[in-house]
Amino acid sequence: MYAYVIRRLFSGLVMLIVMSFATFLMFFNGAVDPVRYTCGKACGVPGVLERNRAMLGYDDPVPVQYAKFVKGVFVGRDFPDDPALRKSAPETIARCDAPCLGYSPKENSTVTSMLAERAPISASLAVAAFIMWIAFGVGGGIVAALYKGRWPDKLIVGTALIFYAFPTFFIGLFLYKFVAIKWELTPQPVYTAFTEDPVAWAMGLFLPGLTLALFYIAGYIRLTRSYVIEAASEDYLRTAKAKGLDKRTILWKHTMRSALTPLITLAALDFAGLLGGAIITETVFNYQGLGKLAVDAATTWDLPVTVGIVLTLSTIVILANIIVDVLYAVIDPRVKLA
């Protein structure tokens, strides 16, 4: 078990290194001088390009930049890394403590602190969406499977498909403009920190969470439904029936156990993906989460932030994969960790 986890962590680390280096090549070896995308319109101010280039170390070759970045993750970094300047004019130096994911001259802030500020919002949204999509998606899928081929099945699957067919931003804006503002059926989707007011936190998360969940619900209904139907046709359920077990035990103990086990891992991976922010939903509802930060950074070309987010999100995905693999071994006795 431990050996497996360690091996898995190691391969994840290798993946992370390859992935991060590929990211550096993509962004810093492209057709465009990267420093032009660190200052927006301030790039036109005399001296800013030169200063940013020196500050961010963009005059180094890509492998050197990469090495400095990696070093910064572990020990922190100064922007610019100039000991002389640190003595004479500390105001012009930005200290970026470990784990340092870069510095944005445009925002005058370290990428790490920007991520840390936004992460709770995305995590809240992910939790809200997760609860709703599991409740509606898995619940709906089970009901659909139980009534396979009859009207509740068709209604559930059909409704989910129709929601799925409309683009997320359309549904989000529709919910926001009509359901929340015009008809005032739901609380205003404004983010409040959990620590500030848990009730307001939950109320504000309802619509964005639902919007995000709707994107997943259709898929989960279909998956759950087919898993339950598949599980119900397994030989061991015939055995359970032949033993004289009652329907309830057969359904909840035997069918669901095998139908939902693969769903757990899928849901865990999707949830992990969401932790990195939901770009469209956060944009529609003006939730200042990682997704909004990402899209703002990408569209205004704040390169250090973009790179920092790409790397963070990828790390989450890699980690989640490892966790899910280990988790799967725990919940499915057939999987051996060798």
């Binding site: 319109k41 101010v45 001259p105 703002d296 070309w301």
Partner: protein, 577 residues
């Protein structure tokens, strides 16, 4: 018309300028609502909500260059030597500086030396007095413009009497490197509570610049952490920042107990107990929320115009809306290095359908067609004889004839580059394309997002026409024509604000001459004359003046939009029920 554009297109480039609305003497604003104190007399107390889409880029006074930010902070947390009066309905008076921390607005006999006396008893939020050295330190920060980028640093760096290096930059490099500190110490001096600025040329507009910008504001050296302070507010006004400011989300102002209203006359009523800024909210959502008026949304004001799709919804709420002309003029600039034939430029101008453009932007609540790059409300404005002759809807047939007579090959390809990101502007550009194509051009639209700045700043770019927008920094055409058309800002690597790379020695010389005129009306007439010269070259094509169609919450009182705050809502008078 629209939102982001209002300020972001304007803030086109490095030295993007916007700020004060116009009007030194003329009248402004064909206001269709009532523009007096609206919603009843303001009383103290309550929580004001300020909804906006576009986040503040800087809250550091030396780095601010967006009119909205300059005035929202100026009425709440930052005091200056001078300021414009609040709630002043007379446009001329509204744009005449009155003393703030200064005991009076001084005059200068030669326009080069300005000495200002500070009031006693003005305190920072930590209880320390605002002293002369704070002002001196504040303006010194403008010289560190590579670290503290974004602000209107060109005014102190060009005018203060400090020698220049070979590359044209000032020999003083700012308070961090302290290079050339002695030179700066000679240009700005403190004697007790008297501060003296020495300029290298006459600058009669100095009080206007102080009141209209924040670059001359005081700053406490012991609080300075360089660029890290971008969203830090160290207040000397009636409010202070509660907690931290988060870009994209906003922040909350609460009362500053160190503020003494007795030192402050006629401007900052500071009615609400708190002011909450909520950033990043889409315009249509802002409108919807204020119309619905649930909870705190009834206490909301905004700097974002009502968008055309929401007009019908806002129509019944006449006493919660205002419609005024903004100080911003939008225009197109032909790239002179590519479109070299004046007849082609003339044909472009002749075929430009400003009426259709205004329609696409949402009609007369969004914009009015413009005939000059100088806002008619600026002092000394003269009608532009070239563009006012072209029909607002354009004349593609005449344009085609011009092209045919010029003997150019048709269809003539034109690449029109603009800052995209807004579907309404995309539609409007489609109208321009339609008109031009009818005249014999083959227009390709090139909407760019943030790469726009990168592209337009390169002298060798391959765009034929750019879009721009401009508002004067303070009420004078001196902050329009020279900034946009002086060819001396062009270099091998930069075009500055002169995107069209317009070069005309006669214009450069006329600009120098006009700068020496001290009478505001005469100066304005001189700039209008230069405008005519540029128009004869078709160095730009005027499009429209943006209009501000604003909505506010039903509980908002004392609501004012005057020239003193560039037609944005004046936080100095506003209150909530």
């Amino acid at each position: 018309m629209n939102r982001t554009k209002a300020s972001s297109v304007i803030a086109l480039s490095a030295v993007a300028v916007l700020g004060l609305s116009a009007c030194g003497g003329g009248t402004t604003g064909n206001n269709n609502g009532d523009t007096g104190a609206t919603g009843g007399a303001a009383t103290a107390g309550g929580d004001l909500l300020y909804l906006t889409k576009r986040p503040a880029e800087h809250l550091d006074p030396q780095r601010m260059y967006i009119g909205r930010d300059i005035f929202t902070t100026g009425r709440t947390v930052y005091r200056s030597l001078f300021q414009f009066p609040a709630g002043e309905k007379d446009a001329t008076k509204a744009q005449t500086p009155i003393p703030d921390i200064a005991t009076e607005v001084p005059t200068s006999s030669d326009g080069k030396t300005w000495t200002v006396t500070l009031k006693e008893g003005v305190k920072w939020q930590d209880g320390k007095d605002v002293v002369c050295e704070d002002f001196k330190y504040g303006v010194s920060r403008a010289f560190a413009y590579d670290v503290l980028d974004g602000g209107p640093f060109q005014y102190p760096t060009q005018y203060l009497d400090i020698p220049k290096d070979k590359d044209g930059s000032p020999a003083y490099k700012g308070p961090y490197s302290k290079k050339g500190q002695a030179l700066f110490d000679k240009a700005v001096t403190c004697k007790g509570n008297e501060i003296t600025y020495k300029f290298n040329k006459p600058w009669g507009d100095f009080p206007l610049a102080v009141a209209g910008l924040r670059v001359f504001d005081p700053y406490r050296e012991d609080q300075d952490k360089g660029a890290k302070n971008n969203f830090v507010i160290f207040s000397n006004g009636p409010y202070k920042l509660d907690g931290t400011w988060t870009k994209g989300k906003g922040g909350k102002f609460v009362r500053n107990d160190q503020y003494d209203p007795k030192t402050d006359e006629g401007t900052r009523q500071a009615n609400p107990d708190t002011i909450t800024f909520e950033e990043g909210v889409d315009e249509s959502i802002i409108t919807d929320r204020i119309v619905a008026g649930a909870g705190n949304d009834a206490n909301a004001i905004t700097d974002r115009v009502v968008r055309p799709p929401s007009y019908s919804k806002v129509e019944p709420l006449k006493d919660q809306t205002t419609l005024v002309d903004s100080p911003y003029v939008f225009y197109l600039v032909p790239n002179m290095s590519r479109v070299k034939d004046v007849n082609v430029r003339k044909a472009l101008a002749t075929a430009t359908d400003n009426e259709g453009w205004v329609g696409a932007l949402g009609g007369d609540k969004a914009a009015v067609a413009a005939t000059s790059i100088i806002n008619p409300s600026l002092p000394g404005f003269q009608e532009n004889p070239i563009f006012s002759k072209i029909p607002a809807a354009g004349d593609p047939a005449a344009a085609k004839k011009i092209l045919t007579d010029a003997g150019v090959k048709m269809p003539y390809p034109i690449k029109l580059t603009y800052q995209g990101g807004d579907p309404t502007l995309d539609k409007a550009m489609g109208v321009i394309k339609e008109g031009w194509d009818k005249a014999g051009f083959k227009t390709s639209l090139d909407p760019l997002t943030e790469t726009y700045y990168d592209i337009v700043n390169k002298p060798n770019n391959d765009s034929d026409v750019f879009q721009g927008g401009w508002g004067s920094d303070y009420p004078s055409a001196a902050t329009v024509i020279p900034l946009l058309f002086d060819s001396r800002q062009l270099s091998a690597s930069q075009v500055g604000n002169n995107y069209g790379q317009y070069k005309n020695k006669a214009v450069d010389q006329a600009i120098d001459k006009a700068a020496l005129i001290t009478d505001p009306i005469k100066a304005g007439e001189a700039y209008s004359a230069i405008d005519k010269t540029i128009s004869e070259d078709y160095g730009y094509i005027p499009n429209y003046i943006q209009r501000f169609y604003f909505i506010r919450g039903k509980n908002v009182t004392g609501y004012e939009q005057t020239e003193a705050t560039s037609m944005f809502a004046d936080l100095g008078t506003v209150g909530v029920k």
